[in-house]
Amino acid sequence: MDVSLILSNILNPPVLAFFLGMLAVFLKSDLEIPPPLPKLFSLYLLFAIGFKGGVELVKSGVSQDVVLTLLAAVFMSIIVPIYSFFILRVKLDAYNAAAIASTYGSISAVTFITAGSFLTQLGISFDGFMVAALALMESPAIIIGLILVNLFAVKQEKSEFVWKEVLHEATLNSSVYLLVGSLVMGLLTGESGWEKLKPFTQDMFYGVLTFFLLDMGLVAAKRIKDLQKTGLFLISFAILIPIVNAVIGLSIAKFIGLQRGDTLLFSVLCASASYIAVPAAMRITVPEANPSLYVSTALAVTFPFNIIIGIPLYFYVINLFWV
């Protein structure tokens, strides 16, 4: 594989900031991004990509590509947790398997954003509708998780109440809400709104991403200690399943005829795992599952793996296919 791709990914301020954050924890420096600033950064990033996606969608219109991509997105976020569940059941009980499966069926917006900045650096374009795919892929896996628990685990409680609550959490949690909301704002204001917000949402984007990944580095490194309890099976799963998902993702993207940039983003969506929305929902859906398993694998293994190696790796494979 082309080393220069990995290098051009790593020698990027946001990715370097991620390393800087991890290193701070290992060296026991007291560097921290005090709360609630990471929350602000993540609100900002979601708003910025949602708004930009909306503006671009209004320019491109809803073509067949868009519809196919969105269908593929929903398909993947339903199918991934199902096969992940059965793989995980080999070693884990139904509760933990369902929780982890949901985590990997959903997506990580920051991984998506980092892939976007990787493409920008290489000068490769991608479409605004990919943000709609991002928004669509957050929730279905949560619902699949709930179904899996109801089918395969013995639950004593009445599940009606839980259903309502989980559906609410899945569709209206702040990240999905803000993403969809800003996408609609972009659709409604179009080019004229874009002009005014551009210095804020576009020009600051890279800097805020750098600071946010600095914090993610701190957070991920602190979670690494948890991996001792996690066991080798889960760690391998957390590295291999993203690769599998990415490959399935890029095959589908090839099949429906996406361009190169969109294909990378779609693969990254399939490969990434949620460490915010899904964990919050899983505390409600399956309180029996151990959060340190599903949070740590997604945050301390899969997220760094995708950020550092995954993105250039998937792109390398895409280039092989596209030639």
Partner: protein, 102 residues
């Protein structure tokens, strides 16, 4: 000065709504919420909670009349048993001002 009970609850941010509703249902209307507290706990998963700035805990303090403790404990216990979190109860005196908990 009037004897009251202090209820302290530490729970994850996502449960705040449910706990406030639970308190209100039992007639405890006054409470104070401190956000973004970090914590470690004896439960398996909580050991490195200081790391999770995105899912921070809240600290809820409610002073109420001693009579309400029995029913309040029941309600809170149900919530915490399901979603996790800790609750501690202690004694205090209220300084009577124009408005009081009872």
């Amino acid at each position: 000065m009037l004897p009251v009970k202090r209820i302290e609850i530490i729970a994850n941010y996502v449960e705040l709504g449910k706990i406030l509703q639970g308190l209100e249902k039992t007639g405890i209307e006054g409470c104070t919420v401190i956000r973004d507290v970090a914590g470690t706990s004896t439960r398996d998963d909580g050991k490195h909670d200081l790391a999770m700035t995105m899912l921070d805990n809240v600290y809820i303090i409610a002073f109420c009349q001693p009579e309400k403790i029995a029913i309040a404990s029941e309600v809170i216990r149900n919530i915490l048993n399901k979603y996790g979190g800790s609750c501690f109860i202690s004694d205090a005196m209220e300084l009577r001002t124009t408005k009081c908990v009872s």
